[in-house]
Symmetry: C2
Subunit: 475 residues, 2 copies
């Protein structure tokens, strides 16, 4: 695919067309050259524009489309696969200034926001008014536009679903510059192909979101967490489906192996998880949260859950039912990634998802497979939905090439295993730039060709976030 | 778009390729010429084939694609917009013999079915094992393939969502004859464009579903219904958002105007709804169901709900908490359509959806607007999600042309109003053949062109269910 290079004339045209500030060349901050995983690609935009409104976005797109110049929308840059990086240079549109909450509609239980609003801002605004925006990905300083473009998941997906389930309507600027609307405020629709659902998770390759209408729910009045130690991972994981069969409907269920808890507690300097109980060395933990409006019902649920857990091999069940104790229980879990990043100089990760019933088999396979590589592997994840984060870690900085090569081989093997078990490459981090060769291998040519056809229907000149998710046509 | 006519040679080729029975010309039963609304188009397939397996479907598609012959998949024929009618003739594939439940997976809480399984069959199988398949559209004898192709909604959408929310994975035969899989058994995915979500609601225009993996939930142990009479529709409808704000989470909330209840009770020969209470003539009703596992909690919910309802103008709250009384309460609601069909010779309908807060304004508008037409209008619908079924009714059979003409004008006006209020053409019946001109008018050319591009990406020769949802290219 051939693109044109931007020139002074086009830059001038953009400057005259938009309200937002335009940065050129060295005026652009280096933070915009990569996301949280520079390993998946870096790229320097020729021009960066702070969009202030949909008209800015529309005008930039129109100019870029007419001139065949790559264009990419950028949120907070907190992605983990290089999706928001200008690998083909061109124009980057920074959406972070479009950060207003436009409407808080308590009657229809929806909020209307600009895409640059941070998840943490919406979450807090909702809580202040007695509501909950359920999607809860780990990175709270991501933009909502980014969350939607990725179909971000998070801790509460088990009970509440992923971001997709909270997107009612979106305003989108197409690569042509045309401004359109997909979806509507209503919850139910059979009105043509669901273009809204196609946009969700398309990682900024089909259009640029300039407004979102998101569903919210009343905030549950009570929350209780359980720390549940097991002797080994098999018992720990095989208990999870039992909770669902008993309709206990947890808000979150995370599993952790012993090693990663120790690493994380070392990092935060506080020990909350028991390591030995009743003379048994703890091998793995479940961390479970229940929520609801009725205190008696939650007590009842806890009792039933405790019975199911102990019947299935839990050594004990530790209850955290005050805000402080709940925060402590989750502190280690929330700090995994930071702990890992601090303690390891080389790091790569995968974000597979497998059926809940296959987690133990999968983790055992991964641990065994990892023995023949130079790196260590640490895993944790969302036991309730089978979404696992597997980290390859090393401190041998001088062996970066070997690390990359071995990780590549390792990923091929463990992705294949995920597919063999009925899973997928990514539960919530997406494909971006770093995972597209795996998407091609494992989703198969038939599906990739359909995706390419869809891309072409939205973006005939292939200018928008080029070479992400699916590789460029003709390559 | 030019198609070829099937000939004896191609018919012979199909007969040699498939396991299923092949019917030609007059061997085809007339039931296959239309759906439940012949007013939206009739069409005679040249050939009808009972598919027995995905390979049958694949072979037929390949032959039709190579020969540019229209092909259409057919479920139970219970659609209401002509989506399943062979308006361009050609080959019809009857999916009703592919009706096996292949797997009932209680650990992952999914069922794997062939697309010809009836909704009623799956619903009962789930109940027998203690589970619930939540989607509950009115027509229980539809196939699941049809339900998914339409994103069927139904009574329980308020609490449980629509069919889309229960589709995890599907096997699809593409127009090329290739067999592929979209989605996976897992609940969470950010693995490329969501082709599964694009298929849901695409009304058989993108591919033919040959297998479905659907999510199920444990069946709630208790169910209670309330009949709630109000003096007028405004009070009745404006109470609905209050229930959500109080997080009472009903399974279903239907509203009914007095007239339609009387018509329906006359039809079933049984009166359950009070017409005058405390000296007040009842103008409208809510029919509400709550479900849950905990009897105390449901009692508590009922108490809170009763308070909210009476505070907002309900004349009284009648509780139905035995299987018999619940059945009686819902009998009139379930018989609306039959009652209307029996009592009226000419009938058309629309299936708009508007924001919950706008239902009263919309129904008042529709009632006032209808005064200037030859037909009567009766409305009912899902108050919890704003999905309204508005029937235009007449017994002047000799004035069919005038009826059609006036209905057309009326629909234009009331669809426009729905869009003005933030709604959509169809909540659950789809676009099919009958509503495509409205889709074009109200969704706008930009969105329609994208839909056409998507159609082309799946079906370059445009052979599959041609001229449905979006009109043919070039027309």
């Amino acid at each position: 695919m051939d693109y044109n290079k931007i020139n002074d004339e086009i830059i001038e045209q953009i400057k005259l067309s938009v309200n937002g500030k335009v940065y050129v060349g060295e005026e652009i901050n280096e933070d915009f050259f990569h996301d949280e995983m520079p390993i998946y690609g870096e790229g320097i935009p020729d021009v960066l524009i702070d969009a202030t409104c949909k008209e800015d976005v529309s005008k930039i797109m129109k100019i870029c489309n007419e001139n065949k110049i790559p264009v990419i929308a950028r949120g907070a840059g907190s992605g983990l696969t290089g999706a928001g990086v200008a690998i083909k240079n061109g124009v980057m549109i920074n959406m972070q200034s479009m950060n207003k909450i436009l409407e808080f509609d308590e009657e229809n239980l929806v909020v209307r926001v600009e895409p640059g609003v941070l998840l943490s801002t919406l979450a807090q605004t909702c809580l202040d008014k007695g509501y909950l925006y359920p999607p809860d990905p780990g990175e709270k300083n991501a933009t909502l536009g980014g969350n939607v473009s990725l179909n971000a998941g998070g801790m509460r997906a088990v009970k509440y679903g992923t971001t997709r389930d909270y997107v009612r309507k979106m305003e989108v600027v197409l690569p042509s510059g045309e401004i359109t609307t997909f979806g509507s405020i209503v919850s139910k629709s059979s009105t043509g192909y669901s273009l809204k659902d196609l946009m969700v998770g398309s990682e900024g390759t089909l259009g640029i979101i300039t407004e979102l209408t998101l569903k919210i729910v009343p905030n549950p009045k009570h929350t209780v967490s359980l720390i549940v130690p097991f002797e080994d991972l098999d018992d720990c994981i095989s208990t999870v489906p039992k909770l669902f069969q008993n309709n206990l409907n947890p808000q979150a269920i995370e599993f952790m192996e012993r090693d990663i808890v120790i690493a994380s507690e070392k990092y935060i300097g506080k020990e909350t998880f028991p390591k030995n109980m009743e003379g048994i060395d703890v091998g793995a933990y479940l961390l479970i949260t229940f929520d609801g409006d009725d205190e008696d019902l939650i007590d009842n649920t806890l009792e039933q859950a405790a019975e199911v857990l102990v019947d299935n091999g839990a050594i004990d069940v530790l209850v955290a039912d005050t805000p402080n104790s709940i925060r402590d229980a989750w502190a280690a879990r929330s700090s995994f990634l930071e702990a890992i990043e601090t303690q390891n100089k080389l790091l790569d990760e995968c974000d597979v998802v497998v059926p809940v019933t296959k987690i133990a088999e999968y983790i055992n396979f991964v641990n065994k497979e990892s023995e023949s590589y130079m790196f260590n592997v640490k895993s944790f994840g969302h036991a309730g939905d089978g979404n696992l984060h597997i980290y390859t870690l090393s401190n041998e900085e001088d062996k970066l090439d070997q690390f990359k090569e071995e990780v590549d081989k390792f990923m091929d093997v463990i992705y294949k295993k995920a597919y063999d078990l009925g899973g997928k490459i990514s539960g919530e981090h997406g494909i971006g730039n770093g995972k597209k060769k795996y998407l091609k291998s494992f989703e198969g040519n038939v599906n990739i060709e359909i995706m390419r056809g869809i891309k072409k229907a939205f973006d005939p000149n292939m200018i928008l976030n080029p070479d992400k998710v699916i590789a460029l046509l003709g390559e």
